[in-house]
Symmetry: C2
Subunit: 205 residues, 2 copies
DNA sequence: ATAGGCTGGTAACTCAAGTCACCGGAATGC
DNA sequence: GCATTCCGGTGACTTGAGTTACCAGCCTAT
């Protein structure tokens, strides 16, 4: 196994040393829920390898907000941990994921001590703010066909493949709608020549 | 006129001194656009008195995202200023507003020097993140009647009055819809006994 | 082999919201 | 005075999406 340092080489050695002393490295299987709405947070995750999906949810209906990828952390955990607030979102590992868990009470000290850690979290906040704003704009201005296509493109980028092994049902859940609608809109995208449906898979053209 | 210190008494004297040296206090009339999408930011505003509305926009259609109130700043300006990115939102003064403008290049130094300023911006990020998430949830899960009612309640809180002097057209713009629809939904709320329409005003019951 | 589960397709319907076209009243300006 | 502008109401229509209720093709486990 690679060391923390190898994953986070751009962070200062002093911080890595602290992480090695107080962080808990943990490997988590794909599709595991690691944060639930209403949950209080004592450990803030930092992704070393893999990725995590962050969702909002309301009475069965869910919406994918953004991904947490290598070297990134969950700012919902960050504020929830620092301010002892309950989380408003839930998060699931997308693939097998390697994390280092940081005790929330140390975090406060670390961001003050290491400017580059402070910058990291500012950047994350900025990035998530931008993602949420993007999501709002999609919800407000784009119809489902455009949202679906963007979603497929993003999936393709994530997986590094133009052929996606994904169920209509899952797409529906992540876009906050239902399977029948995805089925209908997928057909539309197919007729427009933007995608091709394969058995149990989708190809982006 | 009150001094900067009187408005921002909870911030450390050292920072106030810096503000007095490098900040520009400015009074701005109501309904003035102070930030435009695509604009680069050199000065980060901090509201001393009054309030600012922040919007997203796409081809004529707008949506109110949140307010910036006393002692708060605009984190879009903050990141846009620090990272030299263009703004993705636009902002308008809601009332006559007194600001202190902070040079973006000094800001970087200040957040590192004054932990309480750093905390202020973390808190603002957190707050805006929560607002955006709230907006997403409203867009996704609530119908317009509920969104409208929440909007009216929020207006009432802001203005400190249960009678709102506001046009259907403006409401429509801030909720990202059109006047006719507001007219229709207002009637529904009125029938439900939640509001009362007065000539050129709305009373919340 | 067959029953049941997962996957996706489809038709028919409902509903919320946006669009279009128009109206009437109040206020304002010249 | 009259024209114009702002404000809000309303009916008729369109459209995108969610709902309901099915169906068929698979694969797999017993």
């Amino acid at each position: 196994m690679k060391s923390i340092k190898e994953y986070l080489h751009y962070l200062p050695q002093e911080f890595i040393t602290e992480l090695e002393a107080f962080g808990i490295v943990k490997s988590i299987a794909a599709n595991t829920e690691i944060l639930r709405e209403g949950q209080y947070v004592k450990l803030i995750p930092l992704v070393l390898q893999g990725s995590i999906k962050v969702f909002t949810r309301h009475e069965e209906k869910e919406l994918l907000l953004y991904y947490i990828e290598n070297g990134e952390s969950c700012i919902m955990s960050f504020t929830a941990g620092l301010k002892n607030n309950p989380s408003k979102v839930f998060a699931i590992t997308e693939e097998d994921t390697l994390l280092v868990l940081l005790p929330a009470d140390k975090m406060n000290h670390w961001v003050k001590t290491f400017p580059s850690v402070n910058d990291l979290f500012y950047n994350l906040y900025d990035q998530r703010y931008a993602s949420l704003l993007d999501t709002i704009n999609h919800l407000l201005y784009n119809r489902l066909d455009q949202r679906l296509y963007k979603y497929l493109e993003e999936q393709s980028r994530q997986k590094g493949s133009r052929i996606l092994d994904i169920r209509h049902k899952q797409i529906a859940a992540e876009l906050g709608t239902v399977r029948e609608v995805i089925s209908r809109v997928m057909k539309k995208l197919e007729q427009e020549g933007k995608v091709k449906q394969l058995p149990n898979a989708i190809e982006i053209l």
